[in-house]
Symmetry: C2
Subunit: 458 residues, 2 copies
Amino acid sequence: MKKIPYQTYLEPNELPRAWYNIQADMPTPLAPSLNAATNQLATFEEMSRLLAPQLVEQEVSTERYIDIPEPVLELYAQYRPSPLARAYRLEKALGTPAHIYYKYEGNNPSGSHKLNSAIPQVYYNQINGIRKITTETGAGQWGTALAVAAKMFGVELDVYMVRISAQQKPYRKMIMETFGANVIPSPSPNTKAGRQILAENPHTPGSLGMAISEAVEVTLSDPSIRYCLGSVLNHVVLHQSIIGQEALLQLNKIEEKPDIVIGCNGGGSNFGGFAFPIMGEQLRNGGLTSQFIAVEASACPKLTKGVYAYDFSDAVGATPACPMYTLGHGFVPQGIHAGGLRYHGDSPILSRLYHDKLVDAVSVDQSEVFRAAMLFAENEIIVPAPESAHAIAVAIQKALECKETGETKNIVFCLSGNGYFDLAAYEQFLSGELIDAPLTEEALKKGVSSIPQLAKID
Amino acid sequence: MKKIPYQTYLEPNELPRAWYNIQADMPTPLAPSLNAATNQLATFEEMSRLLAPQLVEQEVSTERYIDIPEPVLELYAQYRPSPLARAYRLEKALGTPAHIYYKYEGNNPSGSHKLNSAIPQVYYNQINGIRKITTETGAGQWGTALAVAAKMFGVELDVYMVRISAQQKPYRKMIMETFGANVIPSPSPNTKAGRQILAENPHTPGSLGMAISEAVEVTLSDPSIRYCLGSVLNHVVLHQSIIGQEALLQLNKIEEKPDIVIGCNGGGSNFGGFAFPIMGEQLRNGGLTSQFIAVEASACPKLTKGVYAYDFSDAVGATPACPMYTLGHGFVPQGIHAGGLRYHGDSPILSRLYHDKLVDAVSVDQSEVFRAAMLFAENEIIVPAPESAHAIAVAIQKALECKETGETKNIVFCLSGNGYFDLAAYEQFLSGELIDAPLTEEALKKGVSSIPQLAKID
């Protein structure tokens, strides 16, 4: 029997040179974004005021492959490919006949997959002569990634960091500053949106939606500034397709086919980047042969408990409205450690595919997530990010199901990042102080009531 | 012209299956350790009271290759090979015609090369039925590595952590605890050695030598406990040869020969592990064709300002005396951020090769180290450990010399670890608060006067 290695890499000449766009292969085309003020389709000009025009083009493109610019390929080559690992020790610890594989995106200073989109986003802004970029960050992975990319291309960066994350993760702030970024805890008194939120709730832990509102407001105040978003939007999912395309090549190399494909789900870019190239190949070949599972935090379950509607991606309605599963842009989740999953909405593409039942969704409690993370760390010699550990928890569930049934399924998940800046959360878990932060009916109701009454999604 | 990739890996079947022992190829054989009490050679029994017998055998072996046990190979395969990277962006930033390569050992939870020796050390103890291991750690890389390995093999671990490092690096303590280790800031009131040091100097920042004294004392108090050391000793250098052997294979793959081989030098295991397989091949082929440079901290310059003599590896004389370059076991260096380089002595093997002029040594100030580290981070997308940045600083010096002369030399260094738990040091540097910590004549004199009067080294 062939022995599959612990880690599979790719040769430099095997690396993908184009991003894969699942918009070319979706059964139902994606509904466009809306200008909420007019309830009309958002125009190219409106969107270009926030984003580099190339990114707006990618946002709406239905081309299957989009070439990766040479300067982006060069930077990818400094830290990619990421390894596809076989979790032999974890399998043994679980006593499962399943084969567990994970694609590990943590070997770069952002500690996560986020760098894959930060690099092209900064690149397109830099070639357009943009002086400064603004963004938001939750757990800090995205802010770090953008800080690295901004340094590489010599562009200034302001990061609005969710307040509770800034408090819990001082090292995240430090690494962004090491790469030259200006880090502002959000909500802040710097912006009108921040002042308004602070006036209503001075002790708010903050949220990604609030931080986005601040970053967008700063962008709109100065024509030499543009905004970058770390997930949700189609162009971010596109850039992350580098993960799934590499995984496909690596799986081919070891002659394995995935039965179950799992990713955690915050704004959908890690899930989509990993799963969509695999899904797209199956769609083109006649239909899905894998189960695809998006795993969300039970504290922020937009797919399993949200509404499919047009909603804002920020907290105050400054952005175009996206067609997505959402808990409402006014939803404020509990302060769980997986800051990257504390986002009210989801990728429009992932939302559409979930609505069309090509993707399954499950939610997991924080305590189960950390138990899974510890078991993984103790066997696979990587401390996972709390976000990524959501995928681990479901991979373990599925592996234990295989133990019951005796099936040798191939379970493949994206380990989107490491948890070396989340160790305070692990200490809390180990000392028994970690609590679950379940969704309350009241918070859900309050969130859903904030969804604007706009056009129906076709 | 061939295009050398940014990163070169090895296929699983290309990985080395034996460690390389330079004792087989040294021009002058190594002098043995001494029992300081008797001024006689340390016996196998004496050394086995501290270390697993297999490790004592490796300590004195002159076999060229020693097979790596299968369980160790399996764990190596979970995070090795480490990449050999070409620093194209750094070369361009420097405007040098030199080719700069680095072997990056940071992609594992210890953040450094230390895991390469932690795994076999715990393995040999575990198969001997040892219940608990004690050790010391400075910057925390070694303690983390041993915590990971102890967890893998189910052995208990007490880590005596140099007090100033425990204060400066809270995340280091947390990650050791995440992997189940018991972390004790040193000097501590737990041991006689610790109490004695605290009585004399209650505010001491601690040192590796002091922490070793404590760990050794605990080991000698209970026959089911053994001690593990993260550097200096021959068996540690042996285990680290996995680095240099991989590097040789990777350099062969890209058809490059090293002109200058650089490593930072704390206790010598990262330098030796990287450089000795390269040096050994050259010695067997008729003589050195590379320059080998060990880089030390100017605050702790054992090779450039120390004495070649028998000295203790701990602070109070509880261990056998080693033939080495030393600043004296009573030497206490300034509290620089490169905690792993704050050790009074050096590897006996490296000391011998330096004494025989096969290795050059230079020392670098902390401020130059951090300038080099920042330039590296901004180009190579890795934040280096302050220890490893000593090697970067000299690689940059040499690359700038090539710029002067127009020579296209191949400069190859070991990037032994990352600096993600050292970000507070980077913050200090960026805010202009980092100071150099030069060696004073008084500290040097005090240290050297602590060297015991034992046998002369042949």
